[in-house]
């Protein structure tokens, strides 16, 4: 193409004076690097603070969890201790509630196992049964030949005897200021 044609095709150059005023553009080519602005302190603090908070919270929670296990083990050992003391006391009592010991103690007090009982019927004050008092004789003798065996009582008797032997060493002096002990019951008048 000829230069003339080409130039004819080109748009007509507009003189700067004729050019209508264009609106000022915001965009402009970058000529120099942008100035470094300081980042906002608050944002940084919040971010770091949040991270630190999360970390602390996690550490705190795990401390609390493990702390409980120490408390738990402390209570467990307390309970074990108390259980041991309970067992020790129960073992001391073993055998004491047995009928053999009860009967022996009762017979030492002079009680007897008597015969048939009498009953008082309250509705008409009738006495059912023999209407006889208990005789002094016991139908059984808990301290005699027929004693029902209890190894626990024998063990206790043994240890009691041992303790007695060791306690016998202490002097048994009677305080002279005390009145003499009563052996035959308080004196009382006989009434008719």
């Amino acid at each position: 193409m000829s230069r003339a044609t080409a130039s004819a095709l080109l748009p007509e150059p507009v003189s700067p004076a004729e050019r209508p005023s264009r609106p000022s553009r915001r965009l402009s080519p970058v000529t120099a690097p942008a100035r470094n602005r300081r980042p906002k302190l608050a944002y940084a603090l919040i971010a770091l603070g949040g991270a630190a908070l999360i970390g602390t919270a996690q550490i705190g929670l795990s401390l609390m969890i493990t702390h409980d296990s120490f408390v738990l083990s402390g209570l467990n050992s307390q309970q074990r201790e108390l259980d041991l003391q309970t067992s020790a006391i129960e073992e001391e009592l073993a055998g004491i509630s047995s009928p053999q010991l009860l009967a022996v103690k009762a017979s030492e007090l002079g009680m007897v196992v008597a015969g048939s009982a009498s009953y008082l019927r309250l509705s008409d004050s009738a006495i059912l049964g023999t209407n006889a008092g208990a005789s002094g004789e016991s139908t059984i003798d808990p301290t005699g030949k027929g004693t029902v065996h209890n190894a626990l009582l024998n063990a206790k008797a043994q240890s009691a005897a041992e303790n007695e032997r060791s306690a016998d060493d202490t002097s048994k002096s009677v305080d002279p200021d005390l009145p003499p002990p009563i052996t035959e019951g308080l004196p009382s008048p006989t009434t008719r």
Binding site: A94, P99, S116, V148, H149
Partner: protein, 597 residues
């Protein structure tokens, strides 16, 4: 216009792709390996860690064996922990000879303290440890004392000695000693139940083990949060129908009476009529499970349930019930019986006392306990019917399936020969145990309704649930009127019989039957001479029976007949009526039945 990627731009892009591909490949490798470890072979690795790495640890937690209590909750058997103490002589010497840090308590002083607590001799202890060290200078074990109570364990522990270690061990303690000892049974040294309720109720009493698993750190500390515990379950608690105070009285009374009568052994069983529950099962000599060696091994079992014998005259009441129930005989029927008779089939039957021919009624036959008269009454029904009645009354059948309980022997009716045709009417040629007799009389006392005997009330499991055994069977084996008639006859035996004074209980109407059974010779050729197994069974109050009591004596020598058991029976029945506050009889006895007609 197209933009072509020039070589300059293609280069960096390909490098990026290649780099990313390499990274992806490495990542894939990691992911595959991760899946392999965490998912595919996870269980193997966990197992490895537990075994080889000893990361995890598992302990079995043992539960306690259940306890046995009586009808009122009194504990008859329970588990107790004792401690076995041992010393480590090696450690003692190490500490003694440590010049930098001598022990707080030197060994001599410590030995004194230890010996004071355990009740040993301090010098012997020191000598024993020294001898142990001489044998083996590295000895780490010296047995101090086994079976220490918790009390002593706490005292020894408070000494704070490093070389003293105490291992807990579970044992069984029986707080009431020999009371119901033969019923409760015992455990052997392996803690296996060998007899009695311990064996019979093993499934209820046995504990269930638990487990405790945890992960351990390097130093052995438990990693918190990794502990898993499956609690051990203690064994259940068995409640018996036995009244332990009544049982104690029976044992005490039997011991005194048997020794007074010069007997080898004695038993007593108390059964509640309306429920069939065994309220007392006593025997002498008895066994204290706390101390087996204090008694003869023959006494470790159960004479009450395990010994079966020919009952003798006590079964005349069952024959009477049988003949009355079938209607073959009524209260006015009489037979003529002399003290010694030979029957048509060749059998010879004797009475216990010599007499001429009397016209006995059924009541008279029982009051005088005439073998001849009862033979004649009994054979008015055929033997098969009598056999069936014996079966109905429980002969030949176990009562509660107690360990080592005897069935008793009952031969079939076809096998009864000419002599046993008659002797089976008065309690020979078959054997029963004392509870079986009590059960038979319970039927008579309960208006003809037999209730199976029971010994176990319930089993209370660890979590509180109460498991009751199957309800006992109730069966009407004879009609109510038959039972009433037989009861009346038995009351007449008590009042008109020779032992009336000895068995009477003031205020109560009692019904009894005595039995003097011959004991067969060991070789089976006839009976022992002069040696009897005497028994007395009865129930009271006769108008509305509440309790059946049977007392037996094995070979009483002072009086060799059932008279020997009379005082024991009277005391036993009195105590039973007192224990259960049974109101005295208010209705007077019906008129006396005629013995002869």
């Amino acid at each position: 216009m197209t933009t072509r990627a020039t070589r300059a731009t293609r280069g960096p892009r390909r490098r990026t792709v290649v780099a990313l591909a390499v990274i992806l490949a490495v990542l894939c490798a990691f992911v595959v390996r991760l899946i392999d470890i965490q998912v595919v072979s996870a269980s193997e690795h966990v197992k490895d860690s537990l075994q080889v790495g000893q990361l995890g640890s598992t302990h079995a937690l043992t539960g306690n064996r259940g306890s046995i209590v009586d009808a009122n909750g009194t504990v008859l058997a329970s588990s107790m922990t004792v401690y076995d103490a041992q010393l480590s002589p090696n450690l003692i010497m190490l500490l003694e000879n440590d010049k930098d840090g001598p022990p707080e308590t030197p060994w001599d002083e410590a030995a004194d303290k230890i010996a004071a607590i355990t009740g040993q001799d301090a010098d012997e202890l020191r000598a024993g440890v020294a001898a142990n060290l001489k044998d083996n200078p590295d000895s780490k074990y010296y047995q101090l004392k086994n079976g220490l109570s918790t009390d002593k364990y706490l005292e020894l522990r408070d000494l704070g000695l490093v070389y003293l270690s105490m291992k807990p061990r579970e044992t069984r303690v029986y707080p009431n000693g020999a009371v119901a000892g033969n019923i409760v049974g015992y455990l052997d040294s392996e803690r296996e139940a060998q007899a009695g309720i311990e064996q019979m109720q093993e499934s209820c009493l046995a504990p269930t083990d638990g487990e405790r698993t945890y992960l351990r750190g390097k130093g052995g500390e438990i990693i918190p949060g990794s502990e898993r515990v499956v609690d051990a379950l203690d064994g259940g608690s068995v409640q018996l129908t036995i009244n332990s105070d009544l049982n104690w009285y029976m044992q005490q009374m039997l011991a005194e009476q048997a020794q007074k009568q010069g007997a080898r052994a004695a038993t007593a069983v108390v059964v509640e009529v309306k429920t069939g529950k065994i309220r007392a099962a006593a025997e002498w000599p008895s066994m204290d499970p706390n101390d087996l060696n204090a008694s003869n091994p023959d006494d470790w079992g159960t004479r009450v349930f395990g010994l079966s014998y020919e009952p003798g005259s006590t079964f005349k009441a069952i024959t009477a019930a049988a003949v009355l129930d079938t209607g073959a005989v009524n209260m006015n029927t009489t037979v003529s019986a002399a003290g010694h008779e030979k029957f048509p089939n060749g059998a010879v039957i004797n009475d216990a006392f010599v007499h001429g021919a009397y016209n006995y009624t059924l009541a008279g036959a029982l009051i005088d306990s005439s073998n001849v008269a009862v033979s004649k009454f009994g054979t008015m029904i055929d033997s098969q019917t009598r056999y069936e009645y014996l079966q109905r009354f429980g002969v030949g059948e176990k009562t509660i399936d107690f360990p080592r309980e005897a069935n008793g022997v009952l031969h079939p009716a076809e096998g009864w020969d000419s002599q046993s045709l008659y002797t089976t009417t008065f309690g020979q040629h078959f054997t029963v145990t004392a509870p079986q007799i009590a059960g038979a009389y319970q039927a008579i006392a309960n208006g003809g309704e037999k209730i199976d005997l029971s010994l176990v009330e319930s089993c209370t499991l660890d979590d509180g649930t109460v498991v009751k055994p199957e309800a006992p069977e109730h069966k009407q084996i004879i009609s109510e009127s038959t039972a009433d008639q037989v009861s009346r006859i038995l009351e007449n035996v008590a009042v008109q019989g020779g032992l009336a004074d000895q068995v009477s209980i003031p205020g109560y109407r009692v019904a009894i039957k005595t039995g003097t059974a011959q004991k067969p010779k060991d070789d089976g050729s006839g009976y022992k001479a002069g040696k009897y197994y005497t028994s007395m069974v009865g129930f009271a109050p006769a108008e509305d029976p509440e309790y059946v009591v049977i007392v037996t004596l094995d070979e009483p020598t002072r009086i060799a007949s059932s008279t020997a058991t009379a005082p024991a029976f009277q005391q036993a029945m009195t105590q039973v009526l007192k224990t259960y506050r049974v109101p005295p009889s208010t209705a007077p006895m019906d008129e006396l039945l005629p013995k002869f007609n």
